[in-house]
Amino acid sequence: MERLRQRPVLDVSGLPTVVFGPANIIWLGNLFYMLIEGTMFALLIASYFYLRTRVDEWPPGVHPPYLWFGVINGILLIISFFPAWWVQRQAPTGDLSKVRLGLTVMVVFGVVCMVLRGYEFTALNVGWNSNAYGSIVWTLIGLHTAHLITEWVETVALLAVTFSPKMEGRKFADIGVNSDYWYFVVITAVLIDFVIYGTTRLL
């Protein structure tokens, strides 16, 4: 038996189901993820400077890392900010072809940056098992590379979804949030480049 009751109703039936930017909970989840990974980077950078206080010469007994692969890669990543930003602006319009274009450009940038990152590893002038300096440098770049790869795979996957018949509005929102993560990858790259390439020369 159903009881009929009289209760005022807050009617939410007219609310949207696809939202973009900070209103979307995926945006918040991504923010928390960036806080977590950002803390890891911050702690590794702090460890880098802490280990530095334990020796007189820095880098200890080896040359600083070769500059140009890292610098060029950093510049390319900064440039890749623009397609990521453009895609983020296109996503709320629902224009599928523009979104596909933007994601494709991001994917291409990602490939070039990953290749350059490979060259960076070969030109660090120290092994991860040579000393503590080598260990922390490899770990810093290694962690960032993991993010670069993960973000690239996510971008590829989102691009693939745009070609699926199951593409829908919520995925446009995900594509918007993906750009936020791309910015994170770019910013952390610049920070790490400064620590690894810059401080060994400037400080």
């Binding site: 209760r7 807050l10 996957a157």
Partner: protein, 640 residues
């Protein structure tokens, strides 16, 4: 948003349709597809309780070995594994999974008035990955590969030179499993609290437990990465030849301690603050009034969360660091007492100005007051550097942290279990058995741990598998061991009570405690959709301050798993999400990730070849599935 004039609601068949829409699949595989927070929350609580028992058995073994000087129940190797497993199990496999993950996952969405937790599949994944970590550690122990370097495994003892073999590797990777689990749950809980609150539940009206869980989620987010970093550095030193902690190659042993304790101190607040939230919740209910000092308590909880990150060096006072730093950390460690003192004063005022009904949960809360306070005060002693120089690494410190952890977490935990088990299973626990449990445990606990203060003051260091008769520590140790029987008996009584009550306990009804929060606004146990009529809120105690015609939320579809997302500050309705429903992908992903984690301590190449299956599982998880995307595309409403 405008509220309509009274209209007839509860249309015919709404409950049945909601049940149909929200039901979790039955059967064996259905169990692994469940993504509802009540199921996952119960799983966290049951699993962590099992680890509590296992950790307790280890403690009993330790106490038996120490009950006499030069006892030969076990040799140093087995004892060292046992105490290391005891600490690791209690901290990583019991305390956080129960206090934060178990209670958080179960209670938070209900207290928000939501149908499910945010990111339900991440929540489910977090449970499975936690189980993986527990299995890794314990299978190791049962194969004589248990960690034997303490629950914090200082270098260089835990490094490749002095601890060859896989024991420490298992421990370090268990940390990866459990840390990923805690982080996943933190994201879910923080998002639920910020965006899934019932309309009308502004921040100013949020129950203290939600403030605490939000604070703790942020503490987890900032603290867990530190232990991830340090345990990974240790693993790399041990498996691929890095030199983070090798002094001979520029590494540093104190780097380990700084990174570990930067996590380790917030960790103990991650365990303790949930206890205080249970206290604040139940004190209000059983004093029959609003909590006194809502704003000071909220500020105290948040402040403790922050300040917890500023005291870590007090674990390192004996390392010879400069006095000026030690003084700073003494000051910070004393300062952090203040917010907890504020909470104590607010609690006593609530009770003083209320009418106390000493129901079973409240008995345990009083136990908390008596026990935790001793631990807090011995903490003041430890904060004082010269005193710490004497009692650090002795049984005095062991007494201290057991008083704050058992007093501050276990006593509130039992209070919370007696309080919320009626909601979870629909039946009340037996009162008399509950009282027997309390007294056995309270007396046994004090017998075991109060004596340890004296042992420490009289020179007995920690982590010793035996001691010489000439030390005169035998009597106190024997006395300490005698409490084990009482505590164990108490826990057995609790377990008996649980199973008996489950079968034939008094029916609980919706709200046996006449409490004020939204978790009591639904049947016990809650249906799969939590609330037939999603509530709105008019005050800090939603049910106590509900208007006679308090509006309900209407317009959420009952043929689709629609949930309402509200604004983080004022809980105004913003948009509608669709809950993804049951899914096997969290479970499959946890298996794949678990295999990669375990393999990687045997060969680092596992990360390389494991990346592809992990990536595939995650992509399968996130790929739009079934007819839902097509249906949504037709019906979706974009915001401008």
């Amino acid at each position: 948003m405008a509220v309509s004039e009274p209209i007839a609601v509860a249309p015919v068949g709404a409950a049945e349709r909601l049940e149909q829409t929200w039901r979790q699949p039955p059967g064996f595989w259905g169990w692994f597809k469940n993504t509802h927070h009540t199921a996952i929350g119960v799983r966290f609580m049951v699993t962590s309780f099992i680890f509590l028992i296992l950790g307790g058995i280890l403690a009993a073994l330790m106490r038996f070995q120490l009950s006499r000087p030069e006892n030969n129940l076990m040799g140093p190797d087995f004892y060292n594994q046992t105490f290391s497993m005891h600490g690791s199990t209690m901290i990583f496999l019991f305390a956080v999974p129960m206090m934060f993950q178990g209670f958080g996952v179960y209670v938070v969405p209900l207290m928000c008035g939501a149908r499910n937790i945010a990111f339900p599949r991440l929540n489910a994944f977090s449970f499975y990955i936690y189980v993986g970590g527990g299995l890794l550690l314990w299978i190791g122990y049962l194969l004589n590969t248990g960690v034997d370097t303490g629950w914090f495994s200082y270098v260089t003892l835990s490094g490749p030179q002095f601890s060859p073999g896989k024991r420490v590797d298992f421990w370090a990777q268990m940390i990866t499993f459990t840390e990923v689990s805690a982080l996943g749950v933190a994201i879910c809980i923080a998002t639920t609290i910020l965006r899934h609150r019932a309309p009308g539940m502004t921040l100013n009206r949020m129950p203290i437990l939600l403030w605490e869980k939000l604070t703790i989620s942020m503490a987890v987010i900032f603290a867990m990465p530190a232990v991830m970093v340090v345990s990974s550095m240790l693993l790399m030193d041990r498996t691929v030849g890095t030199h983070f902690f090798n002094p001979a190659e520029g590494g540093d042993v104190l780097l380990y301690q700084h990174l570990f304790w930067f996590f380790g101190h917030p960790e103990v607040y991650i365990i303790f603050l949930p206890g205080t939230a249970i206290v604040s919740t139940t004190v209000a209910v059983f004093a029959r009034r609003h909590i006194f000092g809502y704003v000071p308590i909220v500020v105290s909880v948040v402040a403790t969360g922050f300040l917890g990150f500023s005291v870590w060096v007090h674990h390192m006072f004996a390392t010879g660091i400069p006095q000026i730093s030690e003084s700073f950390f003494t000051a910070a460690s004393l300062m952090i007492v203040v917010p907890t003192a504020v909470q104590f004063y607010c609690w006593v005022t609530t009770i003083w100005r209320g009418k106390l009904q000493m129901k079973l949960p409240m008995l345990w809360i009083y136990g908390f007051f008596f026990v935790f306070l001793i631990g807090g005060l011995s903490g003041v002693m430890l904060a004082s550097v010269p005193v710490d120089w004497q009692v650090h690494d002795t049984f005095f410190v062991v007494a201290h942290f057991h008083y704050v952890l058992i007093g501050g977490a276990l006593f509130p935990m039992f209070a919370g279990l007696y309080f919320w088990i009626p909601k979870m299973m629909g039946r009340m626990m037996d009162d008399m058995l509950g009282k027997v449990h309390f007294w056995l445990f309270f007396v046994g606990f004090n017998l075991t741990f109060f004596t340890m203060h004296f042992l420490g003051l009289h020179g007995m260091p920690r982590r010793v598998y035996t001691y010489l008769p000439e030390m005169h520590w035998g009597t106190l140790n024997a006395l300490s061991t005698s409490g084990v029987a009482l505590m164990s008996l108490g826990v057995i009584v609790f377990i008996v009570n649980f199973f008996q009550s489950r079968a034939s306990g008094e029916l609980a009804g919706d709200n046996p405690w006449a409490a004020g929060s939204l978790d009591w606004a639904t049947p016990s146990p809650p249906p799969s959709y939590n609330f037939l009529e999603p509530p709105t809120v008019n005050g800090r105690e939603a049910l106590w301050e509900a208007l006679p015609n308090q509006p309900i939320v209407g317009g959420l579809r009952d043929d689709v798993r629609e949930v309402l997302i509200t604004h983080s500050l004022d809980a105004e309705p913003e948009y509608k999400e669709e809950d993804p429903g049951p899914s096997i992908w969290p479970f499959i992903t946890s298996i794949v990730v678990g295999i990669v984690f375990v393999e990687s301590i045997f060969t680092p190449w596992a990360i390389a070849w494991g990346a592809a299956p992990v990536g595939a599982a995650l992509i399968a998880w996130m790929w739009p599935k079934g007819s839902r995307p097509l249906r949504r595309r037709v019906e979706e409403k974009w915001s401008v």
